[in-house]
Amino acid sequence: MIGNLPSDPHPWSERREAGLANTTMRQTLGLVTRRFSVGKRRVFAEDPEQEAARRLGVEAKRQAIANLDSLLDQFASKVRSNGGTALMAGTAHEAVEAVRSIAATHQVKVVVKSKSMLTEEIQLNRGLEAAGLTVLETDLGEYIIQRAHETPSHILAPAAHKNRQQIRELFEDDAKTAGLAPPVSDAASTLTQYARERLRREFLQADMGVTGGNFGVAETGTVVLVTNEGNADLVTTLPRVLVTVMGVEKLVARWEDLTLLIQQPAMNGIGQRLSAYTTLISGPAASVAEGPAAWYVVLVDNGRQRLRHTVYEDVLSCIRCGACLNVCPVFRQVGGHAYGSVYSGPIGVVETPLLTNFGVGAELPSVACTMCHACKEACPMEIDLPGHIIRLRQEKVRRHLNAASLTASYHWWSRIWATPRGYRWSLRWARRLQGLYQRQGRLVRAPGIARGWFQTRDMPPVAQETFIEWWQRHRGGLDRERRS
């Protein structure tokens, strides 16, 4: 089934310009992404055993994707025998409907959520609010962007584009409406403290908790959440109904596989040994002593299973660690919102068009990658991100999604340059015509696809004598000598 992803109505050029113009964001993202990347290298250097675990973890995850059908059955039946309810949702729409009907069945009014990219992907908040529910994000970053009416700019650090001053201002406004004392400074601890106070009240009122899931263990029916704030512990224990919404690709077969992978998101994403909190959900209160009265797991496909048995299958191993975003030069310049959907950085470039069959983000492979391969080096799950970006560009050529002028340029240029005669002929013409485009001995303008270059850069003119022409004049004899 083809997936549905949110889509920003603004075209790429506007989104890109908004990103480039936002200097605060570029500075903040630049700092955060570099700090995470340095941290990542350090933790792996300090703990070489983790590298072995990572490798085995990749194997385990690839295996799980290969056996996904049977693992899904096993996981669902385990969840049921643990007293929970497992539901399958083929599309974003079905997933939202499933959560809405759970909320209706249990007469839910207030929902608290822990951080989940999948719920962003299916736009769950919007769906629940349309049904008259109040939805509150409890992850600090998510809470910030919810207050600001924005979407996440980074899959792991949703508010990475905001600095502390901006966050303080948001909270000051929020404090007025909530009748609370505003934060006294923009220190990180003060801001966190404010959000905690603010959220404590909501936790006690909430009827339903919604979480995502970092891993689902098929042999035990357990859902595992890794967070940095402990808010997931409250979301999973205080409200009377708990709903876990997770992608079908999050499963691993065995507990052992989980132990290989559990440190990977934090180590690779933010350079920490283990995220501060690991929350396990294994069933409702009836079966595990404390917690909610009812537990539902909604397993969402939304375009994922289509990728199985294709060259893109490894994409389903993604653990959403964000390491590829942190090293991506384009991401650092334009920020997450420029990608126009939920997933940004290299994994967003690959997944957005793949999940939606080019319905959303068809431009991304062409516009958001310089082919530097930094993401491939960074990805702990060994996903062939640059290879996939090239494949998606090839797919765009096949589907005629590029500008006709670009395609024509490549068509003729490659045919002319595929013979030495054509190559030399083209250079003779270039020499003849380039006078029109020169200033002080340098090229300053050009027609066709090269136009973009000259918006900001000069170029030396085509040499009066190319290297090969020089070689033929001075050294040509050498080659002939050897051949005869």
């Binding site: 650092r332 062409s366 391969h373 670009l406 240029w413 340059w417």
Partner: protein
């Protein structure tokens, strides 16, 4: 004395032929006998990176035909173009031929030919660095140089020692740029189609070079002319001198051109 074949690359051939001449000088001082197959044109990386597989394959086939049937080392004047031939050609040709002709046998044939050619390809500084460390190139390096290691040399060829060691052996002092592992934004025709992002990245790289210059770096040196043309072009447009030099130029002692 080894014989080598020069893989000039189209950018050197057309826009900075002096780099090719410098490379010949250095290789000959190194004791190599230099040949240059004059039918070579372009490796097709521009087309490949942009997703134009059939177009890239046309150029790749031509390259293979020019260089095959001979086991003389092929010395490439660009890390990125070397990576293209060594690491992308076999799969590119396999897939393009299957797509075009539907014949697995033909596709495998082309892939094998590409692989055979790829085995002989080595980047210029890697070639020079293979010999004994004190092999005399006759270079008397005095300056401090800032190095820009192109992304494909760094991550596809996985070359991190050269050209740094080679330059240091010749007496140069080599400094790393701040954020040296971040792309300069060139990216082939990405620099044209997405010139806004490409230029923002060039400016970040040039800012790092400015800091290196303040610390005494005389030139910005790289094994990849693509990156250098992009950075030099940006500086020229901003009214500055061109401080970029290809590794071959500094090794030849020809860095002091205007």
């Amino acid at each position: 004395m080894a014989t080598v074949r020069l893989f000039v690359t189209c950018l050197v051939d057309v826009f900075r032929p002096e780099v090719g001449r410098a490379a010949v000088t250095v290789l000959e001082r190194h004791g190599d006998r230099v040949e240059c197959p004059v039918e070579q044109t372009c490796c097709g990386q521009f087309a490949f990176n942009a997703g134009y597989r059939q177009e890239a394959a046309l150029l790749a086939k031509h390259f293979v035909e020019v260089f095959e049937g001979d086991t003389t080392p092929i010395v490439a004047l660009s890390g990125s173009c070397a990576a293209m031939v060594v690491h992308h050609y076999p799969e590119l040709l396999r897939e393009a031929v299957i797509e075009e002709r539907g014949s697995v046998k033909e596709a495998e044939g082309w892939a094998a030919r590409a692989m055979a050619v790829g085995r002989e390809v080595v980047e210029f500084s890697q070639w020079l660095g293979q010999g004994s460390p004190d092999s005399a190139l006759g270079t008397v390096g005095r300056q401090r140089l800032a190095l820009h290691q192109g992304c494909h040399m760094r991550r596809i060829l996985e070359e991190t020692r050269q050209p740094k060691e080679l330059l240091e052996q010749q007496g140069f002092e080599v400094v790393e740029l701040e954020d040296s592992d971040q792309c300069c934004g060139f990216g082939g025709t990405y620099s044209m189609t997405e010139w806004r992002v490409s230029t923002a990245l060039a400016d970040a790289k040039l800012k790092a070079f400015q800091d290196a210059q303040a610390g005494g770096a005389a030139y910005l040196v790289s094994s990849d002319l693509g990156c250098l043309l992009h950075l030099a072009g940006r500086l020229r447009r901003l009214g500055a001198q061109d401080p970029t030099r290809h590794v071959a130029e500094v090794l030849a002692g020809e860095e002091d051109r205007p």
